[in-house]
């Protein structure tokens, strides 16, 4: 019998690739927007675009909170087998999103000029430009809000590919639309905004087609919605808001530090260099954001299932993935720092390029640690350890950056800011170690020491038997082992026989029908001796199959066929089935 954890590792690797692709594609779209505007509409156009960004960032930040909150809450309920509550959480999220979309659009449309003046449009040209762009882009705001949320929820609902298609189509159309507007239509900033709105709208339509499918988890469910459901989403998603907020504070504080240490002559060079580094931080960190989002979603699911081994496998694969991806990005950024900085160099300022390249190289040294730390922030969010998640997030994004930057700036000038990026990640990691050491009352060195689970979590290890099956030959020995285990733990003969029988019948069915596609699959089982009785949990990564529903449809069939499913459904006290993230999850109670 193999150990459990393979399914989670495989699920993580499969999901993270698509989440990163979607997140990076969206970021590329934003960056390309800025590049095209800068190239074709000049400094004035770029200034107007930059002025309006806080409005888009506000929508993105809000969407981040809703997306993080809904994905973790829904995943948790699904993991616990509570489909209706997951639907309720989804419905609450949709209500909030619609309300905020309408409100945001109304406010922007009605008070467009006032908003631009408030954001800093001091000249008539800047006011016209920013107001035009805002008018064009305001129709993209609902799409921005919904797309972030659907990115995570669709994966839970087994439709990950749709997200990638939608984001890629949206990004490509946005770039084409921007170029058409700049070179052919010449619609100025209004045209740029509308191109974004149209492309995001098409992306949203592609996502919405998911809800025309038959067997989906997330449908609207309005019954029994309470205020506490709204609060739960916001509280759970709060670390995303803390992250956005502290990142904004960080940028503001660093700008001030750079102006103070550079002096009047070099202030704009230092700020421009930091602008380059910050843009690259946003683009490259989207890779690690993808790792974090994947971790948070799966953590929520496994928290609902109370699966400690799965949590351990998740932490292990997340850290390894963050290290590998971080190392690749670090090498690329370090080696290509001059080239990257040069892309943003409009005025031929070699000084700015040199300073930005230096900053990028320092940032490259921090990326691996950033990935690990960000993963833990998201992991603790997935566990609903919100205080821990928010504290780590705020420390990482603000306190541990600004404090060293302030201290070091007295004698290291602009280098203080770059070094602070590394110091922040080191201090954050030490904080994580400190919390783990406090919980363990010793030195943490295994993955199990970093689980941060609220104890008691699930069934005690001595009352649980876990194993994985990948071949037909392993089935009967596993079935016999289950019988021995149940007998050892004081079960009746009947209970021991039935648990053993369920294992054999389930595995045989899954191998016969689920493994038939020729791909590699795994069945993971847990036999639990709980206070409520004996429980068998079975998870596999084959095509979706609900044995309970299947039997209902075939009740009138010849009783001499599909005997195994009939035996299980007939002898179990309760059976629950759930398909989430393309995994079959069956819970059988005796």
């Amino acid at each position: 019998m193999n150990k459990n954890g393979k399914i989670i590792s495989k699920l993580f690797r499969g999901t993270v690739a698509s989440i990163i692709a979607a997140t990076v594609a969206a970021m590329i779209g934003i960056v390309v927007d800025g590049v095209i505007i800068g190239r074709f509409l000049g400094k004035e156009g770029m200034a107007a675009y930059t002025l309006v960004m806080p409005v888009v960032n506000l929508a993105t930040a809000f969407s981040g909170v809703l997306a993080a909150g809904s994905q973790v809450v829904c995943a948790h309920h699904l993991g616990a087998g509570r489909k209706r509550r997951a639907r309720k959480a989804f419905t609450v999220c949709m209500i909030i999103t619609v309300a905020v979309s309408v409100l945001l659009m109304a406010v922007v449309l009605l008070f467009r000029d006032s908003i631009c003046i408030m954001l800093g449009a001091e000249t008539e040209a800047l006011l016209r430009g920013s107001s035009d762009y805002l008018l064009g882009v305001v129709f993209a705001l609902p799409s921005v809000l919904f797309l972030f949320e659907f990115n995570a929820l669709m994966r839970l609902d087994g439709d990950a590919n749709r997200v990638i298609v939608a984001v890629v189509v949206m990004t490509v159309l946005d770039i084409i639309g921007d170029l058409l507007n700049a070179m052919v239509i010449r619609g100025g900033l209004l045209g740029m905004g509308l191109a974004t709105s149209i492309s995001y709208g098409i992306g949203l339509v592609i996502m919405l087609l998911h809800f025309t499918k038959k067997d989906i988890i997330f449908k609207l469910y309005f019954r029994g919605i309470r205020l506490k459901d709204f609060i739960e989403i916001f509280v759970t998603g709060s670390s995303s808001g803390v992250g956005s907020g502290s990142a904004m504070l960080r940028v503001t504080a660093i700008n001030r530090i750079l102006v103070a240490v550079s002096g009047a002559a070099l202030a704009s060079t230092a700020l421009a260099a930091f602008g380059v580094v910050n843009t690259m931080i946003n683009l490259l960190s989207s890779v690690m954001v993808g790792v974090g989002m994947t971790c948070a979603t799966i953590a929520g699911l496994m928290r609902g299932e109370k699966d400690r081994s799965a949590m351990q496998a998740l932490v292990k694969v997340t850290v390894r993935t963050a290290v590998v991806l971080g190392a690749v990005i670090a090498v690329v950024v370090f080696a290509g720092a001059d080239l990257i900085a040069g892309i943003f160099n409009e005025d031929g300022s070699q000084e700015m390029v040199a300073l930005a390249a230096r900053g990028l190289r320092f940032y490259a040294c921090a990326i691996i640690l950033y990935g690990i730390n960000n993963a833990f922030v998201n992991y603790t969010q997935g566990l609903n350890r919100m205080a821990l998640s928010n504290i780590f997030c705020f420390l990482q994004n603000f306190v541990f950056v600004i404090a060293p930057a302030l201290i070091l700036s007295n004698f290291m000038k602009t280098d203080a800011v770059w070094i602070a990026l590394i110091v922040a990640e080191v201090l954050t990691l030490l904080s994580i170690f400190a919390v783990a050491a406090y919980r363990k009352r010793g030195i943490p060195y295994r993955y199990a020491d970093f689980l941060f689970l609220r104890e008691p979590f699930g069934t005690a290890p001595e009352n649980m038997l876990e194993f994985a099956i990948e071949t037909q030959e392993a089935v009967v020995p596993a079935s016999e082992k289950v019988r021995e285990f149940c007998t050892e733990k004081g079960s009746t003969e009947k209970q021991a026989m039935l648990m053993s029988l369920f294992v054999e019948e389930l595995c045989n069915n899954i191998i016969t029908y689920g493994f038939a596609d020729g791909k590699k699959h795994t069945i993971e089982m847990r036999v639990l001796n709980t206070d409520e009785g004996w429980v068998l949990r079975c998870r596999d990564n084959c095509k979706a199959f609900n044995p309970v529903e299947w039997l209902k449809l075939h009740e009138e069939d010849d009783p001499t066929i599909n005997i195994g499913v009939r035996m299980i459904c007939g002898m179990a006290r309760d059976i629950k089935y759930l398909s989430a993230m393309e995994l079959n999850n069956l819970t059988i109670c005796l």
Partner: protein, 98 residues
């Protein structure tokens, strides 16, 4: 799994001990089918049988269909759990359980 057989003319009595599962079912089938052509009354004693899976039920079905053509088959001393399995699967209507 062991099968102890006693033949008396055209009557065959077989006591099955242990488990009939996916692995042992082939041996059980081989033992029970051997010389069955001349049997008109087949009795299976499940007193020492402590586990039967769907593979075992399919074997019983095969034997029952065979014996329907040439005689009869009955099952003795099935324990409570095995009897319950026969009932929930509908096999208690197909087999003769004493």
């Amino acid at each position: 799994m062991t099968v102890n057989k006693t033949k008396d003319g055209s009557k065959l009595y077989a006591q099955i001990t242990g488990r009939i599962d996916t692995v042992t079912v082939n041996d059980a089938e081989k033992e029970l089918m051997e010389g069955i052509d001349s049997v008109t009354e087949l009795t299976l004693d499940f007193k020492e049988l402590d586990y039967i899976s769907s593979a075992g039920l399919r074997l019983l079905l095969l034997l029952q269909k065979r014996m329907n053509k040439q005689g009869s088959m009955k099952i003795l001393n099935a324990n409570e759990t095995v009897t319950e399995i026969f009932e929930v699967t509908g096999f208690s209507d197909i087999l003769t359980i004493v």
